[in-house]
Symmetry: C2
Subunit: 368 residues, 2 copies
């Protein structure tokens, strides 16, 4: 499965793109949402259920898996695919974002980042080379370069230094690769348009298999995210996949698809599910509300998912109230189904040259 | 589905019985283990998975469901079968055992029991009539009479009074039934052989659809459980099902099958699973142990379940360590599969007149 990807642009409608990502022996239709499988499992969901819904590509977290069970252990157990019994595509992040958000960060040098594990306080270093080594031990189909993740807002001078470091790390990541697995560069530059462009251009000089936009969806205003995505996506290589990291909300997904993004990941689908927040095309509902106590209707009348075909809101509310594991299971299933359908509908609209009206109709119906 | 059951004794080998329980439109092969679905779900498992494993009859808890979401709510949502999307058999207990073990018990009178909910402290009374009303609202296929559950050891005089009360409540439960749903009596009498027999005889004078042995598996020595089961099971009506409540451990199950018991329930299969304790024919294993860290073998090499066919001990240990919901899912699935297979093997041995040697071989292989 470890062969280079091929992205075919099938059709575009404005900047929005419908493509085919040839990866891991599969034809993956884009735009695509990737469920997050932090610890070698998409939380509460089996690989068979992911297939049932139609997912072909999921995300694994390098930071978490390298700490527990350890990338050497995953390698000994046959790599991440075999370990978790998933024979479709896996993208792994570099671990950088989690070092910055979860670990106790001690130091950043030109060499790499030094931090303490959030699990046991162990002191660990993560260099571009080590990140690639971990990802090659996991043997993911798409690897990401280590990048520095700054919070927003950020001082311009600091950002300038940061993108220089990120480019340096990107080159080292590229040079460190020993496998045929794919590797994506990550555009940084905070909220500075010119620095974002500078970062993108520097990375495009390295022949990555795809390009991501990072450092967004970290608490900045939506305006900034939309502006940067709309600025950068169109200048990235036409015949390579474009990935907006950590996004997100259905409204943001459709905005970014409109800018020309092909790939997304976000914990929202499954995390919200576990908190009783369910996505529908009429907006989110909170299943814990008492008004659903005796409601015999499904989450969403028009939804064809297994959960909506078989269970009432009254039952789902009860499971949530009783803190039953089945609550997380059924809610996660429905939400993942929703995100899959949303991407399918977006693709269909692009192919039919009606993406803008599709998005407009969606926004009119969807109550955030 | 609310029609009277029919039990056919197909074959016996000593006291051990292989039967067919005609219930809820199904032919259910006995002896049978019933997974426990306390809150309207077998914990961590879907109804489709129960069917996949082959279960045809599960248990629901009257106490829990009457408190949350409330039996009236379940009734409004179509009864427990429809509520939880289960079209096979359901047995409900009377709620008595949980009142004694979970609720804050305030008073027992000839009328009934008075207690405070373990959820919100609400003061509630449970009479034989109310228990039947709840169970008829849930619309289970088999209902249980309200009985007094004494701990062991218990004073003889107290037990004597208790079985008189239990018989009185049993008659009132019988008289209170408005549906065609089945109703089982429950033999009590603690560890007194003569009182157990007295209780059984009094209940057999009432024409119940089946008979249970209660008040065992409550912390007494195994010897007492085996002695009482072996004393009472054989004197219960031959052409009605016999149910040993709350048992249990694989070794105890086989002991009780040997005494002529047809039905069992126990939370052990699923509770142990959530705690990482997995059943195999070689005994229990604790998946959390570090020796499984890099173990690529399945839980049990000879097991045909989905979990053993697809996942390694190394992966299952990791899921447990990472506190992933999938850990509870996969472990519960395997354990439920084990209990189903155990009962199937027991039945096969009875049909082939080799029950004792089967049990002996099992005990020789199984390390508790």
């Amino acid at each position: 499965m470890s062969t280079r990807l091929k992205y075919s642009l099938i059709h575009h409608d404005g900047n929005a793109r419908a493509g085919i990502l040839n990866l891991a022996g599969q034809q993956i239709e884009t735009p695509i949402f990737m469920p997050v499988g932090t610890n070698g499992t998409v939380k509460a969901i089996t690989v068979n259920e992911l297939k049932e819904i139609g997912y072909q590509l999921i995300l694994g977290n390098t930071y978490h898996l390298s700490l527990r069970p350890g990338d050497e252990t995953v390698k000994k157990l046959g790599g991440l695919h075999h370990f978790m019994n998933w024979d479709r595509g896996i993208l792994t992040d570099s671990g950088g974002f989690q070092v910055f958000s979860l670990g106790k960060l001690n130091k950043i040098t030109r060499d790499g980042v030094f931090f303490q594990s959030h699990l046991d306080g162990q002191k660990i270093s993560l260099t571009p080379e080590r990140s690639i080594e971990i990802q090659e031990n996991l043997n993911s189909n798409i690897m990401m370069v280590l990048d520095e993740c700054l919070g927003l807002p950020a001082d311009r001078e600091k950002v300038q230094k940061s993108i220089e470091l990120t480019t340096h790390w990107a080159q080292r990541s590229f040079d460190a690769r020993k496998s045929e697995n794919n590797l994506f560069g990550i555009v940084q530059g905070a909220n500075y348009d010119d620095l974002r462009i500078e970062s993108a251009q520097a990375l495009m000089e390295i022949d990555f298999d795809g390009y991501a936009i990072g450092g967004l969806s970290v608490g900045e205003s939506k305006d900034i995210m939309y502006r940067i995505t709309n600025l950068i996506a169109p200048i990235l290589p036409t015949y390579k996949p474009r990935y907006l990291m950590g996004v997100g909300d259905p409204v943001d997904l459709l905005g970014a698809v409109g800018s020309g993004i092909d790939m997304f990941d976000c914990v929202m689908a499954t995390r919200n599910a576990r908190n009783g927040s369910l996505f529908t095309f009429d907006g989110k509902i909170s299943i814990k509300q008492s008004k659903y106590k005796e409601d015999h209707l499904p989450i969403e009348a028009s939804c064809q998912c297994e959960v909506c075909q078989n269970y009432s809101r009254g039952y789902l509310r009860h499971l949530y109230q009783a803190n039953e594991i089945l609550s997380s299971r059924l809610n996660s299933y429905h939400n993942l189904y929703f995100f899959k359908k949303l991407m399918e509908k977006a693709r269909e609209a692009i192919l039919q040259n009606r993406y803008l009206s599709f998005k407009k109709d969606f926004l009119a119906q969807y109550l955030p």
